[in-house]
Symmetry: C2
Subunit: 436 residues, 2 copies
């Protein structure tokens, strides 16, 4: 296979050289970070008063973590390392607390971020000949504009359609013979469920690839997308705090995501102890910007759970790969004392061929006990069969789940289109237990 | 006054040199247009088979008009002059007919469009020191992304917030001390009406300028915006068919909009005869791209009504100025045989100091007769006074309108917040007469 590269030299740099680049850049980052009130204090408390105090990459572990609340408490300018007149872009997320998380970009920051996305897109085999329908929301959310800029740099034909309006999305795919989609996996599955309604026939569409991200999803969800649409789906990873999309992306081999290690230092830690774990071991992803001037972020605890594997990839890239996001440290459900991750549930139900494209996890109390209900949409023709077959399917799904999450949930079967749909990030869990 | 320029040479070029540039570029446009099926036929029918058939700018009048329906009929690729692989951006508007109007941009088209917007922004006195809150919708609509790119080129701090969410818009203005807004005039007036609710106090905001466009509005609406917010409001003009915003923009003097005549040929025609009218005379705006390679548009009938005035501007720019948009050829209402433009109504009611920021024009039938009702919001404290004062106000508004539109409408006074609000382009007219 002819492996496409955006910047072959940096993408295939041997580890020793890559680590040399990383150390230089980490020192530069420390010098930028020291200009901010927040890191000025934080680094001083760790005995780091100048870039020279970072002697090797190991010294990274001396730097205290940064968490989301630090970003909120620093609002609006506590983490800004340049004059406001140098800032050319502000992104922010409003979150649930009301205090937004704000990200500042200088012009060179935008330029480097754009380059990482051009690199990511190229790694999937997409090119200037492709027509991209960018279904991520444009605006303050980094997902839309971020990939847009990268695609433009690659020279793709960009259709900046943004999120929502499923009818128009499908019509646009047909009219312009879109070849690449950028979309959340849940929304793509929803769009597929509307193909029949919208009269999509085989051969109407030209889609070959989808870049899927912005929400955790299981490997079986990816397979389902690939099978149903007859396309290749590439996992994508990023978060606004560290720029947005383009932190890690799958290459043509679709075997986990290359982390662009010239731009980010990745660590996996034990979320309880804060200690680094071995490669291959699951833990919380911690990221450090290696090239961001306006707003340097060091050792950011993402709350995403994943693992890194260091084996070389067939594509020749030396940048290590990150597994798909297995869950989030803060989305774990405790059901009658048992830890359950929504991702475990998704992984299992998406394996069941009768299950269609949408599901919902519902938790409430029945008396003193927690009650877990998994609602899944199944294909409509199944409702035409005998009740006993439905009952057997329900039992099968319950058993499938029990073998993974240990407890045995209620399972409800629903017709397609009956569960709530999101046009962006899906809300998969409804927890109605009283908070104490 | 120190007059700011983005490209002083081109902006102050003497007319003879400017016309020389125009003629060269028009020939180039004809050669590009001839590559499209649509203009191939159209130009042939006018006896233009090669760029050399255009001997002078007068030959422009030999080219047949292009209308919106031509763009729809050409869907999707009838007006495309390059290979799809050269297209880096697609914009489209869905309109009311269901068939979208599609605009294609090559990379150099985007670059030139961006430059026109940088020029426009600079002409208002805004600069890299400003913080722009871009409230126009991002996505397929050209208003959001178009100005965004120009502002980024200027080096402004861009907050890509997009349309809607008034609460967040106001909070963002406060948090980031926004200095420039890009917004429709109707939405800006609505936002102002929410200042009190949101606890905005004098001194909380740093807004100095607003770029207002995307809908026709009266001079009195502009004055109202300037007085209520204590800012300068700059009229902006553009339409997607010709790129988007940046066709014409007001300079620091705010006395009508310089048309960037190195990029657009402007004509004003009598909409009935199609003949060019004299400078200063009102008619339909007809525009020709002078630099667009992927999708050249010649003599596009915009349906916007305005006039051009050729007097030199104090700023030194030689590019002629276009009046604000006085109305649209297709928005004229015929009320019992009398022609009424919604813009005439707006112009009058916005002069009345008691009138707040929102209004609606309603037309229906009462028996055989058309009935025109103008609903206006007035400031709430007025409702606390005597009924007789309200009645006097109503009579005064009715008389004000009668003196302009000849007929005497019903006038209804409403409390602020009671009429429907739009967060983008306002819908000002509801015509409920049966169509025959
Ligand atoms: Zn690889
Ligand atoms: Zn001027």
């Amino acid at each position: 296979m002819d492996i496409p590269f955006w910047n072959r030299e940096i993408e295939t740099l041997d580890r020793a050289s890559l680590e040399k680049v990383q150390l230089e850049r980490l020192r530069q980052m420390v010098s930028w970070a020291l200009k901010t009130p927040f890191y000025g204090r934080k680094l001083a408390s760790a005995g780091i008063g100048s870039p020279e105090d970072v002697k090797s990459l190991r010294d990274l572990e001396r730097i205290p973590f940064t968490v989301k609340d630090d970003l909120r408490r620093g609002f609006p300018r506590g983490l800004l390392a340049v004059e406001m007149s140098e800032v050319v872009r502000i992104h922010s997320s409003s979150g649930t607390t009301g205090i937004p998380t704000v990200i500042y970009f200088a012009r060179d920051d935008l330029d480097r971020w754009t380059d990482l996305l051009a690199r990511s897109i190229t790694a999937t085999g997409a090119s200037s000949r492709d027509i991209l329908q960018n279904m991520m929301t444009y605006g303050l959310f980094t997902g839309g504009l971020g990939l847009h800029y990268g695609a433009e740099r690659v020279g793709m034909t960009v259709i900046p359609i943004g999120g929502g309006n499923t009818k128009r999305q499908i019509q646009t795919m047909k009219d312009f013979q879109t070849t690449v989609l950028h979309v959340t996996p849940s929304y793509l599955l929803h769009i597929h469920s509307q193909f029949e309604n919208e009269g999509v026939r085989p051969g109407d569409l030209a889609v070959k690839r989808a870049f899927i991200g912005a929400e955790p999803h299981s490997e079986n969800t990816r397979r389902k997308i690939e099978d149903l649409l007859g396309i290749q789906a590439f996992n994508s990873y990023g978060l606004s705090e560290l720029n947005g999309p383009g932190v890690a992306f799958e290459c043509v081999h679709r075997k986990d995501m290359h982390v662009w290690e010239d731009a980010y230092l990745i660590e996996i830690i034990d979320p309880k102890t804060g200690q680094n774990v071995e490669d291959g071991q699951e833990g919380e992803v911690v990221l450090t910007n290696l090239v961001r001037r306006a707003m340097p972020i060091l050792r950011y605890r993402t709350r995403d759970l994943a693992f890194v594997h260091p084996e070389p990839c067939e594509c020749g890239r030396t940048h290590r790969r990150l597994s798909r996001i297995l869950g989030r440290t803060d989305d774990m459900l405790i059901i009658n004392g048992v830890n359950v991750f929504p991702s475990q549930i998704e992984e299992r139900i998406m394996k069941v061929p009768e299950v269609a494209t949408n599901y919902l996890i519902h938790v409430d109390k029945k008396g003193a006990l927690d009650r877990l209900t998994v609602k899944v949409e199944i294909y409509p023709k199944l409702f035409l069969g005998e009740a006993a077959r439905l009952e057997a399917l329900r039992a099968r799904i319950r058993e499938e789940l029990r073998s993974s999450i240990v407890i045995s949930p209620n399972v409800e079967l629903h017709e397609p289109g009956s569960l709530p749909v999101s046009e962006g990030k899906a809300k998969r869990v409804v927890d109605e237990r009283p908070k104490d």
